[in-house]
Symmetry: C2
Amino acid sequence: MTKAQLIQAQKRIQPFIHKTPVLSSQLLNEMAGCNVFFKCENFQKMGAFKMRGAANAILNLSEKERQRGVVTHSSGNFAQAVALAAQKLNVKAYIVMPKNAPQVKKDGVKTYQGEIIECESTPEAREQTAKEIKEQKGASFLHPSNQDEVIIGNSTAAIEFLDEHPELDVILTPVGGGGLIAGTALAAHYFAESCNVIGAEPLEADDAYRSLISGKIETNDSFHTVADGLRTHLGDRNFPIIKKYVDKIIRVEEAEIVKAMQLIWERMKIIVEPSSAVPFAAVLTNKEEFKNKNIGIIVSGGNVDINNLPF
Amino acid sequence: MTKAQLIQAQKRIQPFIHKTPVLSSQLLNEMAGCNVFFKCENFQKMGAFKMRGAANAILNLSEKERQRGVVTHSSGNFAQAVALAAQKLNVKAYIVMPKNAPQVKKDGVKTYQGEIIECESTPEAREQTAKEIKEQKGASFLHPSNQDEVIIGNSTAAIEFLDEHPELDVILTPVGGGGLIAGTALAAHYFAESCNVIGAEPLEADDAYRSLISGKIETNDSFHTVADGLRTHLGDRNFPIIKKYVDKIIRVEEAEIVKAMQLIWERMKIIVEPSSAVPFAAVLTNKEEFKNKNIGIIVSGGNVDINNLPF
């Protein structure tokens, strides 16, 4: 994936996304012992960075492909992102979701006029159902994290971030399926003088950490983490980028995630998902390493059930 | 209070405050049937617009007066605002608080090194204790809402707002002690071509609504409202401004306040106090009146106990 592709993506998706603000808090800086800048993708359209990758992927389709629609399987932010991006581009979106997905997630997709196709709640059933739609309708399949145009679309958050804050020494992102950190690493590689990229992961779902050690894609046997967006594993398109350009992965415990999330809510007055608090938890638990540095954190999203908080 | 005083205040407090961002949400606009712009004073230092008035009032003191310190009685945002503004200007702050004030409020003041003086929880005890401090220490008394320099300081939020969005047809603010709406009305009078100012108040504490009808300052017998910042009544410095320049007061019911607050949290991903949701509740319950207009709302603050939410 080339620098030109990233630049082109940024131009292409610009009419369909928000340029999100960067916020910081003096109190949190004092607490962390460094300057932390939060790139607020929780303020992105549909509430998460996923809008960038979804928009870029659909914009990359030919007119003919767009006429046949797009399909994805997701019960999270990517489902809403595809539905909204498709709606804006007048493309039909088929969203495969497990029958038992929370009503609030289904409602999110319906708000953006995505067509929900229900399936059993196993990974196999999801993939099979998406495959059937792809064959029946001729729809293009979009993967939430392991697809070049999605990764490139995601990179635009870090491009904006580095443009506004070229002084960043490090950018941290949460690591789930690997699409955000891979895009961020590409952006830092192409657009920063010298900016490290570090991933942050729950100890309870530390597949990326183990993958970087073993050199192959590891999975999670269980994932008892509050950071529900980070339970997925890396893919063959993003893992090579992560291996090449990501400095390391920091793991954090559940209590640290919840504490970091609460601090961001109380001090910054912004609503962030548990997954988005993981990088700040990594900063708070590694103060020596980040001391006095300029730290960028990509706040991945803000879609959280406010009637069911972990604190 | 003159236009020159407002301009001077804006210049004077600028190094001590944030220029807060203005946010909006397409979904909320669709829901409301108008364009709503939120001036996010919840992102202000210490989390509320009160920082503006407190900073301006202290900056207005002579060097001699500053050496003797400042005193206020408040258990809310103004206590923290005075403590923080005083700390930044190297002035001693005495904060009179009722013994039974919540620990979280006391901790807020202590964070900014304000000295808490406890008293009984009656209005008389508060005023008496503040008076004693004033006499003993020679400290200058600062009123949360009924003091010219506080009102003038508060006006700077609307000055910034109108500067960024001169197209605003209306600005709505919540009405508690009257300091914010009076400042906003002055700003609209001096800096806008034609922008109405409307107050929003809980039906359960509608003293300002009744005051505008009777022509004299009315009080609340009871105030069973979730909007705990709006229980106070107007004062002799701000009421004349409100009478002269405020278009009207809209009253909203408790359920509407809670619904508006939840919508702002879920859709805008920002944390606002119940008081700050009152103006948006007023818009949602008066859609015909605001249809297709450009509506500005001053989000007064974001200091809320996230472990004790009304939804």
